[in-house]
């Protein structure tokens, strides 16, 4: 008699423990000190960082490994200079991996510029962002230097994509944009 009651109570308690596990708090862990790391986590919050954030901006003036110095300034003069002087490191079209360029373009640029580069991305079709230019716009007359500068720093209401694309990838996208431009013009 008593046993049955005890067992009942235990199952009830366990049942309620299971069902009380609410979805906006974390579950219990067996050995928290093995689960949570002593070294800093990529996105952790720690007292000894500025703002407590372990994701830091690199010190000014440093260049990450695998990147090179970009000398053109982030203003209209720098843009014009890049248009004149900046040349792609790929000298022949055989070196350019158009397939990867296309993939990257479709991830980062097509939402606004459209997969054909005519300025008809999904955000434009849904009227969320307006006034995206076509790559074949004569007034803009974009070339490899200006495209790279635009990806690197952004231009007016277009933001910079330097954080999302590394140096090689930026050039791949640049070449894909040039391809779209010539497709549009023909």
């Amino acid at each position: 008699m008593k046993n049955i009651f005890k067992i009942l109570i235990i199952t009830l308690v366990i049942g309620s423990l299971i069902s009380c596990n609410s979805k906006d708090s974390r579950n219990y862990e067996y050995m928290p000190n093995m689960y949570r790391s002593i070294p800093y986590d990529t996105y952790g919050e720690y007292d000894n960082f500025v703002d407590g954030n372990s994701a830091l901006i690199p010190p000014e003036g440093t260049i990450a490994r695998g990147y090179s110095l970009f000398e053109f300034e982030n203003n209209t003069a720098g843009y014009e200079l890049a248009k004149k002087q900046l040349k792609s490191p790929f000298t022949s079209s055989a070196e350019v991996d158009i397939k990867t360029g296309k993939e990257l373009y479709n991830i980062y640029c097509a939402v606004c510029h459209g997969s054909k580069g005519a300025g008809q991305g999904i955000l434009v079709k849904r009227e969320k962002i307006l006034g995206i230019p076509s790559y074949s716009d004569v007034g803009r007359a974009i070339n490899e230097g200006s495209i790279y500068h635009t990806i690197y720093y952004g231009k007016n209401s277009m933001g910079s994509y330097a954080g999302q694309l590394n140096e090689d990838e930026r050039w791949l996208v640049t070449h894909y944009v040039l391809k779209l431009k010539s497709d549009l013009e023909n």
């Binding site: 049955i4 994701a55 982030n74 991830i107 307006l130 006034g131 716009d137 277009m158 954080g163």
Partner: protein, 444 residues
């Protein structure tokens, strides 16, 4: 991940210090005049509808009618320039077709406005004809539509709420009456009993039965007791096991985030690619949470929400969330510049493997070619992000046993594929056969 953000920051300050277009009071004095001018200056042929289409495709990236963006607000620009600066339509033609040559020619006002916008260059539009420009100017000359005042709906919802209240009142009254009734019965019962006691009336009492009660018979039967004890033990063992197994598993975890960021709206409705924001998934262990400058790539232009709303989430709610984003990056939408006061947004981390296990996104996404949705579930339908998979070791191992490695078009695998398929005598290789079950691959 964060390599280039500082550069991005300097971009942010490009349009700092620019002010609203100065509105000289003379302009206000001349406003009635201006109106007459508007009417007289447009021929019958200027079509504001065509103008709108041209404006949206050419100018809207930098100009809005009533809001300063990269360039000044353009509503009534022709009148304003005429009245304030004495510039006519010819000047506008020149400016729009090629503003930089106008600036270089030393034009006073052109240089002034160019300096005011900190040297942000307007694109040249040599391809626009006079007609096109007239249409655009006709569109900018349109009066601002009066804000539509929504009629406050009274009946159905209002009725409903009052109904709800009256329902509660009625229920309360019933409960109160029920209480009174039972109290009354109790009192009556008591007084009757005391009457009976006073008058020496014998109340009939229940006879004690001599038969064994059922449960006692049950307890006395040893076999039955044994059986039921075993069943009870098994059932509770099942529950205990279930409880112990789900410790440390966070499937369904759905915390409240500091900004109500909806994957449904971004990736579902607007089809933004996952990699756009989680850009390091392609190349590194972590997928990463986008820094706020990535958000601002779009939200410099998208300052309010105009999509579908539900009962739970209204437009006001969504707009307030976008304002939270502006506050965190320190973007002043009025003056279109960064204030420099930023606050970190502390997103609550959802997926988190224990420290003793190693998982790499690039390995699965780029090399393995697995869709995000296989592991993270229908993200593009999630209004609020939650953990879809259990992320237990069994889950990883199961998938490694079942999933074939994509060896095609992958030079990395050419040789090893040949050798392994010889070894196992199969054409297709699962991740497990490649060594995806070795403890050392996931545990260090």
């Amino acid at each position: 991940m964060n390599k280039k953000y500082k550069k991005v920051d300097s971009k942010f300050y490009l349009i700092k210090n620019s002010k609203f277009f100065p509105c000289i009071s003379l302009g206000k004095l001349l406003l009635p005049l201006a109106f007459i001018f508007t009417i007289s200056s447009f021929g019958q042929d200027a079509d504001p509808v065509k103008g709108k289409a041209l404006f949206n495709s050419n100018c809207a990236a930098c100009h809005k009618l009533d809001k300063k963006m990269t360039g000044p607000a353009l509503r009534g620009v022709e009148d304003r320039l005429y009245n304030d600066e004495g510039l006519d339509r010819e000047w506008l033609y020149k400016w729009i077709r090629n503003s930089s040559s106008l600036i270089k020619s030393g034009d006073d006002y052109a240089n002034k406005i160019y300096a005011e916008y900190n040297g942000a260059a307007m694109t040249a539009y040599p391809q626009l004809s006079d007609d096109d420009l007239n249409n655009i100017l006709a569109y900018t000359a349109q009066e601002k539509p009066a804000p539509v005042i929504k009629a406050v709906e009274v009946s159905p919802t209002g009725g409903n709420t009052s109904n709800g209240i009256s329902n509660e009142i009625i229920l309360g009254v019933f409960a109160f009456m029920f209480l009174l009734l039972s109290l009354g019965l109790f009192v009556v019962n008591k007084t009757l009993r005391s009457f009976a006691a006073q008058n020496n009336i014998q109340l009939p009492t229940k006879k004690k039965s001599t038969r064994k009660p059922l449960w006692k018979a049950f307890v006395d039967n040893q076999f039955l007791m044994l059986c039921s004890a075993i069943i009870m033990l098994l059932v509770s063992a099942y529950f205990v096991y279930g409880f112990l197994m789900q410790i440390g598993v966070n499937q369904g975890y759905e915390p409240v985030q500091p900004i109500h960021y909806s994957h449904k709206i971004h990736s579902g409705d607007n089809e933004i690619d996952c990699n756009y924001c989680h850009s390091s998934a392609r190349v590194s262990k972590h997928s990463g949470i986008p820094s706020l400058n990535v958000c601002m790539n779009c939200h410099k232009s998208i300052y309010e929400y105009n999509g579908e709303t539900t009962e739970e989430y209204s437009k006001e709610f969504y707009d307030a969330e976008i304002q939270k984003l502006y506050k965190a990056v320190g973007w002043d939408d009025e003056s279109q510049e960064y204030t420099g006061e930023t606050q970190a947004v502390k997103w609550v981390r959802i997926h988190n493997l224990p420290d003793f296990s190693y998982f790499n996104h690039a390995q699965h996404v780029s090399v393995g070619g697995i869709e995000c949705q296989t592991c993270h579930g229908p993200v593009e339908e999630m209004e609020i992000m939650y953990q879809y998979s259990p992320l237990t070791m069994g889950w990883c191992i199961n998938c490694h046993r079942e999933t074939n490695v994509k060896v095609k078009d992958n030079q990395y695998y050419e040789k090893i594929h040949e050798q392994l398929s010889k070894k196992y005598g199969v054409e297709k290789l699962t991740a497990a056969q490649m060594g995806g079950l070795e403890c050392g691959k996931c545990h260090y």
